[in-house]
């Protein structure tokens, strides 16, 4: 298998050299291949950027897969991916995960998050303290926070999910999330979170804001601030994070070209906005 590896390394090197040379002439003759792995929340963005980028540069081969955020920087460290998508800055420690040394985090998008409830819940606003009490299991009934007399059902993402890490850090200020009880369940993906909160009465969960639009669930205001793009841009709504592309050292060659494309004003203000992410340039 060694010869295969060295062959592919040689091919990669050749590709990078040729792109280095040719990019001076015309961008469309860019060629090479990129493997992207990591966060599933950033996957729709990556896939859209990939298809646009490949239209401009037909010779570039991009394959993407996703598992969880931490897979991104890990795949980059192992050398099986050039870009690792991650919902947090993996060059720093976050609860449960150590920093990845020698990697560069390049922000590519702003991801807003929101606490969401089933449409039969009458509550529209919760304070940070109420959220903390609900998710730590202290408050078990909606009537304690001004709603009807109904049990609260907590829908969680798995420990280590980027959405959960960010929600816990920014909305619960690092507070704990209850893990057992007859009214607690954990789901695997954003889509499942949406389906569960939509169909379970009295359910509360958390989700990237992109999935809330056009759904049957309701996004809650936190401390009286509604989760809208305007409130994030003017700094009132705090529950958001950057989405990052992790690379081994500074990105070079095709990888750099791809990251440059996804950060370009054309993509940020076009497709990225349509996918309900917020452009980097909007945050001061």
């Amino acid at each position: 298998m060694k010869w295969f590896k060295s062959l592919s390394v040689a091919a990669m090197a050749l590709a990078i050299v040729t792109t280095g040379v040719s990019s001076a002439n015309a961008a469309s003759s860019l060629s090479g291949s990129i493997v992207i792995n990591g966060s599933s929340a950033l996957l729709p963005l990556t896939l859209q950027a990939k298809s646009e980028f490949q239209k401009l540069n037909p010779k570039v081969k991009i394959s993407a897969s996703s598992a969880g955020s931490v897979t991104g920087p890990q795949a980059v460290r192992k050398g099986i991916a050039q870009i690792g998508a991650c919902d947090w800055d993996a060059t720093k420690d976050v609860p449960g995960f150590k920093a990845f040394e020698g990697q560069i985090a390049t922000p590519v998008a702003v991801i807003p998050f929101a606490a969401i409830v089933n449409s039969d819940v009458k509550v529209n606003n919760l304070t940070t303290q109420q959220l903390k009490d609900i998710f730590s299991g202290k408050i078990k009934n909606w009537k304690d926070v001004g709603g009807d007399d109904a049990d609260i059902v907590i829908v969680n993402r798995a420990f280590g999910s980027g959405t959960r890490v960010n929600f816990q850090l920014k909305a619960l200020e690092g507070g704990s999330i209850v893990s057992t009880g007859s009214n607690v369940k954990t789901v695997k993906s954003s889509g499942e979170m949406k389906t569960n909160v939509e169909t379970t009465s009295g359910a509360i969960g958390y989700e990237a804001l992109a999935y809330v639009a056009g759904s049957k669930m309701k996004a809650l205001s936190i401390n009286g601030v509604a989760p809208t793009e305007a409130n994030i841009i003017n700094g009132k709504y705090k529950v958001w994070s950057y989405g990052y592309y992790m690379t081994k050292g500074q990105p070079t060659g095709v990888t750099k070209a791809f990251i440059d494309y996804i950060r370009s004003a054309k993509f940020q203000n076009g497709s990225l906005k349509k996918l309900k992410f917020i452009p980097l340039s909007a945050i001061k």
């Binding site: 059902v153 893990s179 007859s182």
Partner: protein, 319 residues
Amino acid sequence: MIESSPAVQAAVQGQLGESMKSGSGKAFDRKNRLLFYNSTFKVVCICSAIFVCLILFSILIFMFRTGVLTFKTVPLTTFLFSTDWSPETETYGAFVFIFGTFALTALTLLFSVPLSVFVAVFLAEMAPKWLRNLLRPILDLLVGIPSVVYGFLGLTLLLPKLRDWAQVDLSDGILAGAIVLSIMILPTISRISDDSISAVPQKYRDASYALGATRFHTIVRVVLPSARSGILYAVILGMARAIGETMAIVMVIGNTPQLANALFKPTSVLTSNIVMQIPNVPFDSTWNYALYMMGFLLLFISLLMIVVIRLLQRKGASR
């Protein structure tokens, strides 16, 4: 196994030689050629079997090698018998998942085996031919439906129904899991049983009827016992799929690490816990090793169940 006794084989080859010798000179080439093909084929078969075993054992070793690292930090007894699983605080007790796997599999087999055998008997013995030719492909079809579709239907149809029926906050748990799994493995068990019931020679039935037995007696006392090995194999295969199923189960089991001591209580099994957590795990952590160990444990449990079923069968046969 008549053909495997060497004496018979020698006799057969001797006969073969005789018949060849009586032919013309050309037949000698033919005999050599046939023997050459014969032995080549045998070598090819042995090589394939070795290849298959090689892959299987390398997967075993792959899982075990990573999994065994768990025990550097977690004692075996804690891993097997503690009910406390929280990666946040680095405690890894897998008892909840082991118990959940056993409970879920048992409940699933309880639902699906009797029903599948009924369906198999129906297909092989009772249904008119046109119905049989129509139903068999439809049953096979169910195997090809991706498990995410089953899971999604379970999530959007079954869970709300169960919730209303049982008047609980969350209906996720082993009952919902067992219902979804039963539907998933029913075609596997019934189709393979159906094949083995159909393979029972017609003369057994004829003999039984000739002795004056009714259809009930013929099926229960003659046909089913004759097809027992195949039915058992079908059950094992169905059980294997039930133990190993992930994508559908993860949507209806609730994924809460607590003991499944009630039908409607969100819980977790080995597979669902692996598939939930492995995307988010740092790959050189005890957490990761523990998940691989659970994968290995899963294999161990299914091997154990297979051995138990085989032993039961042997006991039944010698009775």
